[in-house]
């Protein structure tokens, strides 16, 4: 037990550990004026010489939502990790109810009633929903006997409160991303959290799922829970939060009242300068004739792998950017995996540059010129423990016809260096470990490694999940740049706003491609409606097949 309240109030739930004597009022107590539930003051943290946080302070009131915004690598997650006892601050203090507390490890945080839903979902895949929710609860410091009936009762109660209804005995492995997220949240509520920090909860949610979460947050705040909310989805931040703190390069640059702020201002604060509004493909170089004038690169007919993909047919032309919209679980990832041979189709045909194309492995796909930037960069895109340099070289090795080929570290590094510059990857050096990079920069590395193989068709699955506004604009620029060089691009996204960069958007629902929306008719609400299967569309080609 390392919770050391500095004032003479016993730590909650722990009788055994008395005050560590030193309650001598040498240190000035907290100003009695503060009413905040949680305060972090003057927090600084460096990693091997680089400053992640530089004397930041933040305060969360009970029953309110305090949002934390900032570019990738601004230090948001680091702050949360310090609060969670995962990292130790070099300087600064944490106050709970105006009392100074010590959070040396996650256990302390849990004992203090602080709950966390971290950026990487932290569940045990092979555990059932119930067991995941029960994890870490139980009487601290005592090895109790499992009271399964009680736990089930409590879990049911939490589910009711959150308004979700996932069978408690299903393995978490089997759940969709948003359901997993609810399980995480449920775990926090199993132990009467007074404070919950959420690090990019909606990153891979659809709008529908996000609004479901908003409702839950409302319910929690009305019970007096304080929430620290981190997200790159600025509209959502403005909607859900009461206060917004913006970090830039480890420093606090502003605290804004959500009600008096707009997206424009928030963006400027985050990036430090004005960012042009996301330019839609239409406005920029509107060229709806691409499809007619350019040769077809990939042609897909009746591609199937039941039950997730059923009879998909479409064409992608040279230099064209095609989007695929859909709800989570619509089967888009599965479709992408079929295109690169990560899974085998059970029916249908493909032609690539007019030649039959039936990849049996990602290797064959890459050799033929089709690459997939997978949706989970940490688990599927990167070797986190390896250098940026080696990560950037991976797909080139994978596309090499012979494994006996020479590997030339010098030229490989030079190529990697050039890619880093081209995509402005921010890292200490090319020898830096991928693990140390912020999310946006990691994503750029993944895109970079595939671009290095000069694919004719690049498939990107959720390319900007967890990427900040600035870096997001850069990734769009990379995508449009590639297209203008003749590369065909397929963008899968649940963030319909970004599908504006596409020449054409296909809509997938229940494993089938159900509609095609040209850039001229692009409209987010319209897309959403299509994804849900409402048919009040105008002029869109409904391709109801199979």
């Amino acid at each position: 037990m390392t919770i050391r309240p500095e004032l003479d109030v016993p730590a909650q739930g722990d009788e055994g550990e008395k005050m560590t004597g030193a309650t001598d009022s040498v240190r000035p107590g907290p100003e009695p004026t503060t009413t905040g539930l949680l305060q972090m003051r003057g927090i600084s943290k460096s990693f091997g010489g680089s400053r992640a946080l530089d004397g930041v302070s933040i305060e969360v009131e009970p029953g309110s939502v305090h949002a934390l915004c900032g570019a990738n690598g601004a230090g948001k997650s680091t702050l949360v990790k310090i609060l969670a006892g995962l990292e130790r601050a070099d300087e600064g203090e944490i106050l709970l109810d105006g009392r100074r507390v010590e959070v040396a490890n996650p256990r302390d945080a849990a004992d203090l009633g602080l709950s966390f839903i971290h950026q990487e979902l932290n569940l045990v895949p092979k555990f059932s929903v119930l067991r995941n929710m029960a994890m870490g609860s139980g009487h601290p410091g005592r090895f109790g006997i499992l009271d399964l009936r009680r736990l089930r009762r409590e879990a049911k109660a939490v589910q009711e409160r959150l308004g979700f209804d996932i069978p408690l005995d299903v393995e978490v492995e089997q759940l969709s991303v948003s359901d997993r997220w609810m399980v995480s949240l449920g775990r926090s509520l199993m132990r009467d959290a007074r404070f919950i920090a959420m690090d990019e909860p909606t990153a891979s949610f659809t709008d529908e799922e996000a609004s479901r979460l908003m409702a839950v947050i409302e319910e929690l705040t009305s019970d007096g829970v304080g929430i620290l909310y981190i997200s790159h989805r600025l509209d959502e931040v403005l909607e859900v939060s009461d206060t917004i703190t913006v970090f830039r390069n480890g420093q606090k640059v502003a605290t804004l009242d959500s009600a008096q702020t707009d997206r424009q201002e928030l963006t400027t604060q985050i990036v430090g300068r004005e960012v042009e509004k996301l330019v839609s493909r239409l406005e920029a170089e509107a060229d709806e004739t691409v499809a007619e004038t350019r040769p077809v690169r990939l042609s897909v007919r009746n591609l199937s792998r039941a039950p997730r993909v059923i009879g998909a047919s479409f064409d992608v032309h040279e230099g064209e950017i095609v989007g695929i919209a859909g709800l989570v679980g619509a089967g888009r990832t599965e479709l992408a995996r079929l295109l690169i041979g990560a899974d085998r189709a059970t029916g249908g045909t493909m032609t690539l540059n007019d030649a039959p194309y039936a990849p049996k492995s990602p290797h064959e796909a890459l050799r033929a010129g089709i690459a997939l930037v997978p949706e989970e960069r940490r688990s599927q895109g990167l070797v986190l423990t390896d250098t940026v340099e080696n990560n950037l070289a991976m797909a080139e090795h994978g596309s090499s016809p012979s494994m006996r080929s020479r590997f030339r570290p010098k030229s490989s590094r030079a190529t990697g260096q050039a890619l880093m510059e081209r995509f402005s990857v921010k890292a200490r050096s090319i020898r830096d470990t991928a693990h140390h990079l912020s999310g946006g920069n990691q994503q750029k590395v993944v895109v970079g490694k595939y671009v290095r193989t000069s694919p004719g068709l690049l498939v990107l699955d959720e390319p900007t999940v967890g990427v900040d506004v600035g870096a997001r604009a850069e990734i769009y620029r990379i995508i449009t740049g590639l297209a203008s060089e003749g590369t065909s691009v397929l963008v899968i996204s649940s963030d319909f706003e970004e599908l504006a960069i596409c020449d054409r958007v296909l809509v997938m629902r229940g494993g089938q491609l159900v509609a095609e929306v040209p850039a001229s008719e692009f409209d987010e609400d319209h897309l959403t409606a299509l994804c849900f299967g409402s048919h009040e569309s105008s002029g869109t080609t409904e391709t109801e097949e199979a």
Binding site: N122, F127, F143, G144
Partner: protein, 332 residues
């Protein structure tokens, strides 16, 4: 939520085939055991399928089972322990030495070697958690030191009791016709099963093994849990060493070493029993018994030495492989 429900797996033709494979994946390892029993019963009808022989097999399984179930605890938390064989050897030698040279009674000696086992486990846990050395290296190193301690005590020579009768009774005594070691095995199995499945500690162990970071984040004292797993494991190894010594009333410096590989084999085999690669007590028990049945079959049928090895190797690969292959098919 509702949106996702649309996409439910549709009950289609391929589903039934995949269900079939799923069933096979679950029961594949048990099927291997069943096949073994049936074939041997046919080949050796008078000697194999008898109550006596069944008791025999259980009795032969007891010591291996105890050490393997302990190892299972460590494996469940995602660690390794290469020192168990050495710990078992040390326990036997220490027990006999204490009874011979320090006039310890049997129960007192048992308590003492449980303490010894516990200390070895603590050291393993300390080196792994505090020094952050990978469990493989740590337990290989600690195991080597344990051999040294063993050597220091015994000087390499076997330690034998002057009047071993009471001690031998632990191995040879019977209750209702069933030897004590079988009861000891079953009691320990029940205890460990309960610990792993019905206590917060056990759940925490499984959580740590399933996703260490997640466990840490949810407030589980990961290091403590890992240390406890090592302690349980070493204590089980110590019990095996103790029982081993009670077979002959004496202990040799490397008597327990062979249990290392057999315990691993049993645990890994067991992880394919009813589960998809997760370690569990029941599975380990089945693993140990399968190996014993296999050995018993070979000996009863009477095969050349090299056949014995072929057979054991195949048993291991097939027992695990059948299940995983079937699961893969089920998933495909």
């Amino acid at each position: 939520m509702t949106t996702l429900m649309e996409n439910e797996p549709t009950a289609e033709a391929p589903a039934s085939k995949s269900h079939y494979f799923e069933w096979f994946g679950r029961y594949g390892a048990l099927l291997v055991l069943a096949a073994l029993i049936i074939v041997t019963s046919i080949l050796a009808p008078n000697t194999f399928p008898t109550v006596d022989n069944a008791i025999n097999i259980l009795n032969q399984s007891a010591l291996s089972a105890i050490i393997a179930m302990g190892l299972t605890f460590v494996l469940v938390t995602g660690e390794f322990d290469l020192s168990i064989g050495n710990t078992a050897s040390l326990a036997g030698v220490a027990a006999c030495w204490l009874m011979v040279n320090q006039d310890f009674s049997i129960p007192l000696a048992l308590v003492a070697i449980l303490v010894v086992g516990g200390i070895v486990g603590l050291i393993n846990g300390f080196v792994v958690t505090f020094m952050n050395v990978s469990a493989l290296v740590a337990t290989l190193g600690v195991g080597t030191i344990v051999i040294g301690v063993n050597y220091m005590i015994s000087d390499g020579a076997p330690v034998a009791l002057g009047d071993p009768d009471a001690f031998l009774e632990i191995t040879f005594g019977r209750f209702l016709g069933i030897p004590y070691p079988v009861y000891i095995m079953l009691v320990i199995a029940a205890l460990l099963w309960w610990l792993l499945n019905r206590t917060v500690l056990g759940q925490s162990m499984q959580a740590v093994g399933g996703n260490r970071v997640a466990a840490e984040l949810s407030g589980i004292r990961v290091d403590r849990v890992r240390v406890i797993a090592f302690v349980v494991c070493s204590m089980c190894a110590a019990v095996t060493g103790f029982l081993l010594a009670s077979r002959t009333g004496s202990a040799a410096v490397s008597a327990g070493d062979t249990y290392l590989l057999s315990a691993f084999a049993a645990s890994f085999f067991g992880s394919a029993v009813l589960r998809d690669g997760q370690f569990h007590i029941l599975g380990t028990l089945v693993g140990v018994i399968t190996v014993s049945v296999g050995f018993n079959s070979i000996a009863l049928i009477g095969l050349e030495t090299y056949w014995q090895y072929f057979f054991q190797g195949l048993l291991l690969i097939l027992g695990v492989g059948v299940g995983t292959l079937a699961r893969r098919r089920a998933a495909a």
